[in-house]
């Protein structure tokens, strides 16, 4: 009873406050957020959408990361019977679909909603923009430059918790002696590739851009890049014997104190929270792996495949407005553990790790994510290379040479 009154009130307020089109439409939304925390976050979006617009959110979740969902999404779009909205990583992934004219142009509502002013950092909106037109709604920012460390593990080894990558390397022998794995690393290319990106951006922002954006041959062959591959060899050494595949199982090792550290994106904090661990007390989150703080702006975005039905088109635009509204941004990102795409919302409820991210974001210390600089093809090849490197005794020199080859051949 109470809830229905609340819902009625909310709906009433919404109709006054927001000038949404009347009439209920079913909107099918595809995404790959299926785990507990993720599903809760999506629930916020669905609730906000249904209560403010009166439309109906038809959920089309497909688990198993983008590799499972993407063929489904793309097949449906080119099959001429698309879903109404779909999650995709922003960046170069959807560009061809946009160029083929299969995606809905959101420029009018973007201008109306002044997205150009509210979206922070601006590069997120740029990633959605093709030829001056906006085609997607950035939803959140996920950063990958984090190192998570376990205080219990260091205590067991009788040493102070480390503050950065160099200290971790120095502490590795002692950790090993105490039977602790210095670095937990899931044996999957994408996890290992994050380390490449992080070590590069950690060396210097200029080097990072020279490699990924400018694809500069001299920079690629510089000592800085070569040094990164020696660091990778050190990481291989430190993670040897971990024998885990999934990233969350690697995180579990840090949570249990079996491993000292893991390099993983900000979503790892959800695992710590689920296990009832407290930041600072049980574990530490080191942004930029303990170096100069910066945040790479990767993340998720929603795209809206073009639909012939004008009612659906109107509802799609309603959804786009809801997604970027301050209320949804706060509700969604708090549940998801990611950062909001607008700087004008209050996230006081965020945990200490998220606060660090917010501060870095507010200070404007952002770098463009690799997804927006190189093609998915190159990203995938780097992942393959890293899988091979970490799974064999390949020399850093060979890996470096292969890396240079991949970047230079990326168009």
């Amino acid at each position: 009873m109470k809830t229905s009154i609340m819902r009625g009130l909310l709906a009433g307020v919404a109709t006054f406050v927001m000038p949404f089109a009347a009439g209920a439409t079913d909107l099918e939304v595809t995404h790959w957020w299926t785990s507990g925390g993720e599903a809760n976050a999506v629930q916020e979006l669905a609730k906000a959408f249904e209560s403010t617009t009166g439309h109906h959110w038809v959920d089309g979740a497909i688990a198993g990361s983008g590799n499972t969902a993407r063929p489904v999404i793309i097949s449906r779009i080119i099959g001429g019977d698309p879903m109404a909205a779909t999650q995709l990583n922003h960046g170069k992934q959807a560009q061809e679909l946009i160029e083929a004219g299969l995606m809905l142009d959101l420029t009018d509502i973007a201008e109306e909603g002044k997205w150009a002013e509210i979206v922070q950092p601006k590069s997120l909106l740029d990633a959605c923009t093709v030829d001056g037109k906006v085609y997607c709604v950035p939803l959140n920012i996920h950063s990958i430059q984090w190192m998570w460390t376990s205080n219990a593990a260091f205590e067991k080894a009788g040493i102070d918790p480390v503050n950065n990558w160099e200290e971790l390397k120095a502490a590795a022998p002692k950790l090993r002696e105490a039977g602790i794995l210095p670095l937990a690393m899931g044996e999957q290319g994408w996890q290992e590739a994050y380390l490449v990106h992080n070590l590069l951006s950690g060396t210097s922002e200029d080097l990072y851009y020279a490699v990924y954006r400018d694809k500069d041959e001299d920079a690629l062959n510089s000592d800085g890049v070569k040094a990164v591959f020696n660091e990778l060899a050190a990481a291989r050494e430190m993670s040897a014997g971990g024998n885990v595949q999934d990233w969350n199982l690697a995180t579990a090792k840090v949570i249990n104190g079996e491993a000292a550290a893991q390099v993983m994106g900000d979503w790892a904090q959800g695992e710590f929270a689920l296990a009832g661990k407290k930041a600072g007390q049980d574990y530490n989150c080191l942004i930029a792996m303990g170096g100069e703080p910066s945040i790479a702006t990767g993340g998720d975005a929603f795209y809206f495949p073009l639909n012939k039905d004008p009612e659906i088109t109107a509802a799609q635009k309603d959804l786009a407005k809801v997604l970027i509204s301050p209320e949804s941004q706060v509700a969604f990102n708090l549940k998801k553990g990611s950062l909001p795409v607008r700087g004008d919302v209050d996230l006081a409820a965020a945990g200490p790790c998220m606060q660090k991210g917010l501060e870095t974001l507010a200070a404007g210390k952002v770098i463009t994510g690799t997804d927006q600089l190189i093609t998915p093809d190159a990203v995938g090849q780097i992942q393959d290379l890293m899988a091979e490197f970490f799974g064999s005794d390949m020399t850093p020199e060979d890996a470096h040479a292969a890396f240079v080859e991949i970047i230079l051949n990326d168009e």
């Binding site: 099918e28 595809t30 995404h31 957020w33 299926t34 785990s35 507990g36 925390g37 993720e38 599903a39 999506v42 629930q43 669905a46 959110w57 038809v58 959920d59 089309g60 979740a61 497909i62 688990a63 198993g64 990361s65 499972t68 063929p71 489904v72 097949s75 449906r76 080119i78 099959g79 001429g80 019977d81 879903m83 999934d246 990233w247 969350n248 979503w267 959800g270 695992e271 689920l274």
Partner: protein
Amino acid sequence: MVDISQTYSASRRLDGAAGARPKRRISASRIMTYGILCVICFYYILPLWVMMMTSLKGMPEVRMGNIFAPPVEITFEPWVKAWSQACTGLNCDGLSRGFWNSVKITIPSVLISIVVASVNGYALVNWKFKGSEIFFGILLFGAFIPYQVMIYPIVIILREIGLMGDVWGLVLVHTIFGMPILTLLFRNYFASLPEELFKAARVDGAGFWGIFFQVLVPMSLPIFTVAMILQVTGIWNDFLFGVIYTKPEAYPMTVQLNNIVNSVQGVKEYNVNMAATLITGLVPLTIYLLSGKLFVRGIAAGAVKG
């Protein structure tokens, strides 16, 4: 090449084992036979055992425990959860959500693919026309094409004939991909039937369909059983086609199974995963058990003759 009359007469003893030596006594070789069979069964049962046991344990027990040990405290909660509570995205009604969809997809797909393939086999054996063998050769080649390659071309074909996103489009896809092996089985089976039957029916003036329905089909129960089992297993377990060529409201059970199992964040509920797999496998398994000897007989006739 097996003499047809000989193999046909041999099918009479399909119901009973004959083997090398029909002596019945407990000997060393007898013990060895059972010994080896038991070892082999152990290998086959071990994973099933682990799945069963895990699906009956609570999560704390799964986490600490020996995967081979039976549960200390039996709980059916994982089964209940897998069937009716596990979430996929926003829908928290477990596998039950997709069960009827799977039934709705499987029944027409199995029926139509079997009808088409049996007619193919019949035409190939009894009504050979110029080039029929070549088409059959191409069909067999098709059995080796990786499915992934066909996804986009089929999307385009379905779009052009207006079946994209429709359950009937999916039925068509299953019919196409089941055709090579099924046609092979039916063709071999029909070829093993005595030709006199066919000739006699011709003399009686029966036509193409008349002979098929009145003479061949009634004799072909075993091979239809085999075809049904292969198709039910394949279509019921299909994930890729089901998720690509239909919409969320028509997604088969395997989509929920995948969503339950492949959610990457949070604690993996192994017990629910195992229960979900077992539940999904129940339908093909039941059909195996029910069909029993017919299956072996059908396989014998369809795969073996020639």
